[in-house]
């Protein structure tokens, strides 16, 4: 990625250079947005909806989304289910093991603000934004597969707006 990082620095100095960077941007973003591989990370009932979305009826694969069992091969972590305080360090660890660029979808009420476990619970983390940065929130308890698909389309839109200069 060394060359791509330097590309906007040099290319935009020459006349018409911004056309080059814009095209490269568009191609890279299209590639990324069309092959989001997600990590298998289901901790509660949201995982059932996630499995359903991955199966034949809703067919996640038409968005280029395939599940991976390793965080090293994943671009996206869908936090599907309740994250307890004991699970929180493990979620952070999996996130840290993913290669950049990486994205997080918080699926369901539990991951947004603790959900039904907000009150009277000593064990449940009140929102995963305390642990990992979240790109898309999907409300629901659990969200239907249609909601999850819409959340993933929103993530694709977000990826397609990335600028080369923002790359780390």
């Amino acid at each position: 990625m060394g060359l791509i990082k330097k590309l906007p620095v040099y290319a935009e100095k020459i006349p018409g250079g911004s056309i080059v960077t814009t095209s490269v941007e568009a191609i890279l973003n299209h590639g990324q947005a069309s092959s989001i591989w997600y990590l298998l990370f289901g901790t509660a009932c949201c995982a059932i909806e996630l499995m359903c979305t991955g199966a034949a009826r809703y067919d996640f694969d038409r968005l280029g989304m395939i599940f991976r069992a390793s965080p090293r091969q994943s671009d996206l972590i869908i936090a599907a289910g309740t994250i307890t305080k004991k699970m929180a360090p493990r979620l952070r660890r999996l996130y840290d093991q993913m290669a950049e660029p990486r994205y997080v979808i918080a699926m369901g009420g539990c991951t947004i603000k603790g959900g039904p476990f907000y009150y009277d619970s000593y064990a449940v983390e009140k929102g995963i934004e305390h642990i990992v940065p979240v790109d898309v929130y999907i409300p629901g308890c659990p969200p239907r597969p249609e909601s999850l698909l819409e959340g993933c389309l929103m993530l694709q839109k977000k990826i397609k707006q990335q600028k080369l200069a923002d790359w780390q």
């Binding site: 305080k85 004991k86 360090p89 907000y118 009150y119 009277d120 619970s121 000593y122 009140k126």
Partner: protein
């Protein structure tokens, strides 16, 4: 044995060591004195008529005023059940381990120690296994427990 047979047999055999409580529940519930707990547990298992060979559950309760331990026993051979309750000392809650009688008590007693702060005498492996490893906020199942991010369910005044 039917419930009435168990009630009369236990009252006849154990005398004042077990007190029948009127709870309106299906299974007979007996209260055990704290000092008698281990002896009574062994006697209930070894008695040839009762033969309570299966410990279904062992746990704590915080009623707000006092700490209690409760236990459900069953007999596989005789197909009957009984519930027991022990009132604990609030200042220094402590209970004798019944791990030597029913090996299944091992994790239940660790759970009571971890969540209620009930000291289990004679348990040689009281280590944390339910709460996070670095937990330092006390015993969360106590009624007066509180933490910075703990939110109580609001009370509605109709």
């Amino acid at each position: 044995m039917t419930h009435d047979e168990i009630k009369s047999y236990i009252e006849k055999t154990f005398g004042d060591k077990l007190t029948l409580l009127d709870t309106g529940r299906c299974e007979p519930v007996f209260e055990v004195k704290l000092a008698d707990w281990h002896d009574v547990a062994r006697a209930l298992r070894d008695d040839q008529t009762l033969q309570f060979d299966y410990l279904c559950n062992l746990g704590g309760t915080d009623t707000g005023e006092r700490l209690e331990a409760h236990c459900q026993l069953a007999s596989i051979k005789k197909s009957h059940r009984v519930d027991l309750k022990v009132v604990l000392d609030s200042g220094n809650p402590s209970l004798a381990s019944v791990r030597d009688i029913w090996p299944a008590a091992n994790w239940y007693e660790r759970e009571m120690w971890e969540l209620y702060g009930i000291n289990i005498e004679g348990h040689d492996n009281l280590t944390r296994f339910l709460l996070p490893d670095d937990w330092d906020q006390g015993h969360p199942m106590r009624k007066n427990w509180d933490a910075p991010d703990f939110v109580r369910f609001p009370e509605f005044n109709a």
